[in-house]
């Protein structure tokens, strides 16, 4: 998938996340434009995030 608001593929977003891992909300605000954009990719990105970081997501609250 490709995020048109961020002008980046989901793969590229996850690659950046792998290089410098962040909690989900920080990943979104740092590596994407979804916060100011349309938000359609958030669900898919969360699924990718949860696949790669199941423990992080279940043990750390990332809600501001």
């Amino acid at each position: 998938m490709y995020c048109i608001c961020s002008d980046k593929s989901h793969d590229d977003i996850m690659k950046q996340q792998r290089l410098d891992p962040l909690p989900f909300d920080s990943m979104i605000s740092t590596y994407t434009c979804c916060t100011e954009g349309c938000g359609s990719c958030l669900e898919d990105l969360r699924a990718l995030f949860e696949m790669e970081y199941p423990m992080v997501h279940s043990t750390i609250s990332v809600k501001d």
């Binding site: 998938m1 490709y2 048109i4 608001c5 002008d7 593929s9 100011e36 954009g37 349309c38 938000g39 359609s40 990719c41 669900e43």
Partner: protein
């Protein structure tokens, strides 16, 4: 059925014309007559969702799920027009289009292959998202900047919804759908093959030709080209973003890597050979 989840997604992002647009931030000193002319033309262009919705409902009478989605799409596109009309009404009423000018872009479209129309509008929404983002960057007046930003996000959500329906079509009619999507993708990413590049530039009614494009029925038919090239300056960098948005999403949809329009064209030719031999 996709409609309930798409409805929920769009409802979650619903904005209010009266309260979410910061009308109080208006700054008349940052606006020119030419800006206002552009806002008027875009208000009329958005109004042309009406014949498009009529076309979609007519050509998808067998698809109740997609037809239900069109109810939201139509509502949101008319809201875009209304938002721009409200801007003009508040700050430059002399630029408000007349009802006749709005009516002029409502005309019958010839019947078209439903899957191609779907792909065409997916590409059109990606393009419109970038046009509005570019317009936001171009304008200095805070309210119209905010409005173009809101509209850009809505168009991106529409592109995503169209993409969801394209994916659904692939599950039931793989080759036919792949052919339609690749064909339109080639046309919409290659300016040499097709200068139209957006649904509003396409001829859609043989009986009315040549007066059968939405842009041609604007009060200023030359406006869009001027606006893109000489005002907001939608240059090759912006064009690249459109191309990348279309090709990358089609890559994900069709399970192939399309690094450029040529790769998609080559894939399309392979599909044609497969269909011919089938």
């Amino acid at each position: 059925m996709l409609f309930p989840s798409i409805f929920a997604r769009l409802e979650e992002n619903r904005w209010n014309l009266g309260t979410d647009v910061h009308w109080q931030n208006f700054d008349a000193s940052k606006l020119t007559q030419r800006h206002l002319h552009g806002i008027k033309m875009n208000a009329i262009l958005e109004w042309s969702a009406m014949p498009t919705a009529e076309m979609f409902l007519r050509d998808n009478s067998q698809d109740t799920d997609f037809s239900a989605f069109i109810s939201i799409w139509f509502f949101e596109e008319q809201k875009h027009s209304l938002t721009l009309l409200e801007y003009l009404k508040r700050f430059a009423p002399e630029f408000c289009p007349t009802e006749d000018e709005l009516s002029a872009v409502r005309f019958s479209f010839d019947k078209a292959p439903a899957l191609e129309s779907l792909a065409l509008h997916f590409c059109g929404e990606i393009r419109l998202n970038q046009w509005y983002r570019c317009a936001k960057a171009y304008h200095n007046e805070p309210v119209i900047r905010q409005i173009y930003g809101i509209l850009a996000n809505d168009e991106a959500r529409h592109a995503r919804a169209y993409l969801d329906y394209m994916r659904k079509s692939l599950e039931t009619g793989n080759l036919e759908a792949s052919l339609a999507f690749a064909k339109i993708g080639v046309l919409m990413t290659n300016a040499r093959l097709n200068k139209a590049m957006h649904p509003t530039n396409l001829h859609v009614n043989k009986a009315l030709y040549p007066d059968d494009t939405v842009n041609g029925r604007l009060p200023d038919p030359e406006w869009l080209g001027q606006w893109l090239s000489h005002e907001i300056r939608f240059d090759s960098q912006w064009e690249k973003k459109v191309e990348q948005g279309i090709l990358s999403n089609l890559s994900s949809l069709l399970g192939q890597e399309f690094s450029d329009s040529r790769a998609l064209r080559s894939y399309y030719k392979t599909l044609i050979r497969t269909a011919t031999n089938a």
